[in-house]
Subunit: 389 residues, 2 copies
């Protein structure tokens, strides 16, 4: 065997640092035993069908279960012909960028937004234009102005990318009234909303809001969902819900026509995990664990930074968005925070223009238990205090 | 649960038809028990690391093993930093098309070629230009002429897609001399060869030829490999070998940066299957089974169609390329063949210009045992005879 030691996972641990930069689940919350049982059951039930080329839209049993589940955790369920299984949200987004944009078109991105979505779009020949969000989510009035301005310049806008529910990086959700105005505007202007809905299951204070997909007429929203946050990212299984014309375009793409279902075996493992009831139990367990972590983080921020920094308490998801005292810069603060033993992602990373967001930063509370989060905030406060003194 | 019956697999069985159209493995040759054991072992060994975000280039243990294996079945091994794990060859090809082409560039495709690769490229804003292949593989002289012609017209050529080893659809392999001339020409003309090497392990008459990747200077060839044919397509795990600059570009893409390793759990299952020795034993078993099937198909063709049709006996892979008697058309023959109870893919499907290849057809011998293949040829010969009478 080759002797080089090569990594297995993506996370890079750094000695002495509680790293709130990573939007990863806590390894201790990943259901290893349940997946071991589900893998064996998938192979028992489907035999060679679990290992041969899969149905391009994804295995039927997962799609059927997913329609039922979304009927419970969203305002309405999709029909099976409106679902395509992906190899996770990133792959779904990459394929949407490939199939639903043309070179030179404008893709609008909520700003701030998930910074790695920006990187996925930048691998495609489109131009990114930001649309401002505030503490209540995307500003639909700014979107309307942006669309008018682009039309006057003769630009074609293909997509708007947004994370309206338990947003990454801000944690907030778009309000009900803005949701309806957003889908109405998109329908009127004939742009497609790409709704990144990956945090829906992680709701800590009651039901997640109705998805944009559930509120919109057919053909307006492509919703990306995933089992990365609600189950296990390493299974690389997610899904798209949209109108059947769009899901058929994706299912009939060269990629899925050639290779069949893009996460076939793993998707059948997810289907078995779900059918056993383990999925619903796992989500309950995650909600309880992450709710306690969110509460611990917010409580520590109140204890340590009240009156100096500002933050938004999230009702779900992984993240708290923190705004530093006036005059501080999150990128400049980072080395100080790391020398105190904690880390985060500076706010500027979430903007298409690096001049924006310099006072803000994103803290992920998903990866560490409460006492570790409390300690991380203590260290962060020392760094913040050290600068502002 | 939703009551609709949705498919699990991609294959569609048709009553009474022995369908040699599908390039799929025989379900009876898929190692269900071995994968059940490998799944359990992957979860035992890696625990939550098997389920969290994976290293973007793919899990280290699989990459290390793969370097060793390619050292055995190819002329030289890659180094670990020259490997990226994919979610199968189709996903690898899709990502290569996204990252290594620009809008309006020309992608050259061997002609005939794998028809679903054409569909993957057509989902990207590139122009496909065919380069003729004959019974000894790609014609390098025609490639040189094509490149000159395109240069004179001011066109930029980014990639050449070819299946030089146990070709799909022709079954033949590019000869040693043409291989060297091809990589020399590509290096000189600064085009990237995308070498689809998916059939390498399925060699029935001795070692597979040295890959183009192994013969070329760094940066000239991107080789796509897969576990679809040598193990199980439903695991959706493949790999790219190239120079570290190219594999780094792929590893650092938005897609892999965001989602981590794109087939993480399945790739660790493959790594466990491989480490146990099951992979090497499985490949031996597949070679013996498919060799017997190839022999049965060729023997039946000799018995039934000698002197009327022509065909190329392949030294590996899944396919036999058959040329019908003069005046016959494979697309026109298809309904007759199906009414006799067999099917195939007409040759025109493998060309960018549908006017080409009308006398030829592709027979896959991978999915059925010998006696079924013999019966399929009997039925085909009735159809062929019926037309030529």
């Amino acid at each position: 065997m080759t002797k080089t030691r090569l990594p297995v996972g993506q996370f890079v641990a750094r000695d002495g640092i509680i790293d709130l930069g990573w939007g990863h689940p806590d390894p201790d919350l990943l259901p290893v035993d349940g997946i071991r049982r589900a893998s064996a059951r998938a192979l028992d039930r489907y035999g060679p069908d679990a290992l041969n080329y899969g149905y391009p839209a994804g295995p039927g049993p997962l799609i059927a279960w997913l329609c039922d589940r979304l009927g419970e955790v969203d305002a309405r369920p999709p029909t099976p012909d409106g679902v395509v299984v992906t190899a996770g949200n990133s792959q779904g987004l990459d394929q949407v960028a490939t199939l639903l944009t043309a070179p030179g078109e404008v893709v609008l991105v909520e700003s701030p937004t998930y910074y790695l979505a920006l990187r996925i779009f930048r691998d495609h020949p489109v131009e990114l234009t930001p649309v401002a969000a505030d503490h209540h989510g995307l500003r639909v009035d700014v979107l309307a102005d942006t669309l008018s301005r682009l039309r006057r310049r003769g630009r074609r806008v293909s997509l708007l990318y947004t994370v309206p529910t338990f947003n990454n990086p801000m944690g907030v959700s778009l309000g009900a009234e803005r949701r309806q105005r957003l889908v109405d505007l998109a329908a009127e202007e004939q742009i497609t909303i790409v709704e990144d809905d990956v945090y829906r299951e992680l709701s800590y204070d009651g039901r997640a809001p109705a998805s944009l997909w559930s509120l919109a007429p057919p053909g307006v929203v492509v919703r990306l969902g995933s089992f990365a946050k609600s189950l296990a990212p390493g299974l690389r299984t997610g899904y798209i819900t949209s109108d059947p014309a769009t899901t058929t375009r994706i299912r009939d793409s060269g990629l899925l026509d050639s290779g069949g279902g893009i996460s076939h075996f793993a998707a059948l493992v997810v289907a078995e995990f779900a059918a056993s009831g383990d999925y619903a139990r796992n989500v309950e367990r995650l909600r309880a664990a992450y709710r306690a972590r969110r509460d611990a983080l917010i409580s520590a921020l109140s204890d340590r930074l009240e009156g100096r920094a500002h933050w938004l308490p999230p009702a779900g998801g992984y993240f708290v968005w923190l705004t530093l005292p006036l005059g501080q810069d999150a990128a400049a603060l980072l080395p100080l925070a790391e020398s105190e033993g904690t880390s985060y992602v500076p706010g500027a990373n979430f903007y298409t223009r690096p001049s924006d967001g310099h006072r803000s930063l994103r803290l992920a509370f998903s990866r560490y238990p409460e006492e570790t989060l409390t300690e991380a905030v203590r260290r962060l406060a020392v760094a913040v205090g050290g600068v502002s003194d």
